[in-house]
């Protein structure tokens, strides 16, 4: 979604000869009729234009008669940039958590399917060629081969599909890496874009994540274990998908429950800040770092009864 601004004009990116103001009416010759039309056009140029390299735009604009002097140029740039940004913000805010959920689910599907397909392809290729390595990397190696028969062609082609699917997974991960911070800046900073996207997907949206109690966020993704616990068959799960976070996984097992609880608490606050305020809250991140340092310090002092003491 973030590519829409650049997308249509990527092919038009010439040698950088075109400033945003070119082909727009100049300030001096404009009558009031065309002016009403000029502002949206200027904003559209700012949003959609591209150039390979910058130039001395203020000088060029004055030379071309777009503006009488540098001051007028900057005044018009100010108006165009402000309008362009206001429009783009409005549009992008609609580009939303729903897209992020699609992207993260598609990434998981692509990964699973790529692995399955790669496994099939290398198994097949192993019966045709020598020295076939397992997995995606093996499939990539097979895809690079020159097939010499009908059957080899099919096996090599299948391996190529698996490799392409893995490329798609990587592209999706990159998209998530760029869009998650736009959708949920605090959550993405705290959890990383991928985990942030997964939490939003598991909750069904940023708003519903923001409305969940932290105890629920702590076990999101561990629903099987949770229901096993509720029906009396298992202990309560200490963590769900947040296990993938370094703060949980990198904490010694005795303190992981505390770490997961602390992380889930701050993730919940981060999701709320993102949904309700949308601005970065540095205190939140500092608080979590401090709390994690305290929890991890227990491993050093290692008092036997410290594991659950002092928790909120």
């Amino acid at each position: 979604m973030s590519d829409t601004d650049a997308g249509p004009d990527a092919s038009a990116a010439s040698d950088g000869a075109e400033g945003w103001f070119e082909a727009l009416p100049s300030g001096a010759t404009e009558d009031t009729d065309t002016e009403s039309d000029a502002a949206p056009r200027a904003a559209a140029r700012v949003r959609e234009g591209t150039a390979a390299s910058p130039a001395d735009w203020a000088v060029r604009a004055v030379e071309s008669g777009f503006a009488a002097g540098a001051d007028e140029y900057y005044d018009r740039l100010k108006a165009a940039a402000t309008r362009a940004t206001r429009e783009a913000v409005r549009e992008r805010e609609r580009a939303d958590d729903a897209q992020l959920i699609h992207a993260v689910r598609a990434m998981d599907d692509a990964e699973r399917t790529a692995n399955e397909l790669a496994e099939r392809a290398v198994e097949w290729a192993g019966s045709l060629f020598d020295e076939v390595e397992p997995g995606i990397e093996g499939a990539r190696a097979v895809a690079a081969r020159e097939p010499e028969s009908e059957v080899e062609r099919r096996a090599v082609s299948l391996a190529a599909r698996a490799a392409e699917l893995d490329d798609e997974r990587a592209e999706l991960a990159e998209t998530i890496g760029r869009t998650a911070p736009a959708v949920a800046p605090n959550l993405s900073e705290m959890a990383g874009p991928e985990l942030a996207a997964r939490l939003i997907a598991l909750a069904g949206g940023l708003e519903s994540l923001a409305k969940k109690p932290s105890g629920t966020v702590q076990v999101l993704g561990a629903e099987d274990a949770l229901f096993a616990h509720l029906s009396g068959r298992a202990p309560s799960p200490k963590h769900g998908i947040i296990y993938t976070h370094e703060y949980v996984r990198g904490t010694r097992p005795a303190d992981r429950g505390s770490a997961a609880r602390a992380l889930a608490g701050k993730l919940t606050l981060a999701a709320r800040a993102d949904h309700y305020a949308g601005e970065r809250r540095s205190q939140l991140h500092a608080d979590l770092r401090e709390r994690m340092a305290t929890i991890r310090a227990r491993a050093d002092t290692d008092e036997p009864d410290a594991a659950e003491a002092g928790d909120e």
Binding site: R47, T50, P181
Partner: protein
């Protein structure tokens, strides 16, 4: 260390009983003010931290600036108070909404909702030979972003960069992350000075560099 050089338009002023860095302009984020001067909190601003710690930023006041990662406009509003034309690039729409408010009373602060990783999407707007590129983006590949934006900088211009270790790799030691980033940076820049900003910003490295 001797008293660092502050750009014209940035002063240490007595505000709310404390001597603090300050610029003159409309308040943006509820910061304390006195006599038209607004306190510049080094704990909320990497560039403010760099100035407070005495890095030689080369800023003198009145320069043309490209600011990457403007977020809500906290720092860039101070920059626009003492600099000349200031281009503020921010990728995320929500903070950009606040950036618009911060930019409104500043007639040479140009807000741009663009991805700093794609300079070609704003090279038709941002002029060349800017005096300073200030970068504070919380994304992986911060050195790469700086390298790609070297095209805007004048030969004697300065890159003022805050590298955030946790954006590159939450698990690696910050020192290792910084070394890797500086290696990438050296392909496009000459490093003038580096300083840890930990007093104000944990696990951040302040970098002053000039184009190769």
């Amino acid at each position: 260390m001797s008293e660092p050089t502050l750009p014209d338009g940035v002063e240490r002023r007595e505000i709310a009983g404390e001597e603090r860095l300050a610029t003159r302009g409309e308040p943006v984020y509820g910061e304390p003010t006195a006599d038209g001067w607004r306190a510049w909190d080094p704990e909320r601003s990497k560039l403010g931290g760099m100035l407070e710690l005495g890095l030689e930023t080369g800023l003198t006041g009145g320069e043309t600036v490209l600011y990457l990662g403007a977020a809500s406009g906290t720092t860039v509003s101070h920059v626009a108070d003492f600099a000349g034309p200031t281009y503020a690039v921010e990728f995320a729409p929500r903070p950009a909404r606040d950036l618009l408010d911060a930019a409104a009373p500043r007639d040479r602060l140009f807000p741009l909702l663009k991805d700093a990783r794609k300079p070609e999407t704003y090279a038709h707007v941002v002029e060349r030979d800017v005096d300073a590129v200030v970068q504070d983006v919380a994304t992986r590949g911060q050195a790469e972003v700086a390298a790609r934006n070297a095209r805007f900088l004048a030969d004697d211009g300065r890159l003022l960069l805050a590298i955030k270790a946790r954006s590159e790799d939450v698990t690696a030691a910050p020192e290792a992350v910084f070394e890797g980033a500086l290696d990438r940076l050296r392909e496009a820049y000459e490093i003038v000075e580096t300083r840890r900003l930990d007093r104000f910003h944990e696990d951040h490295l302040g970098v002053v560099a000039t184009p190769k």
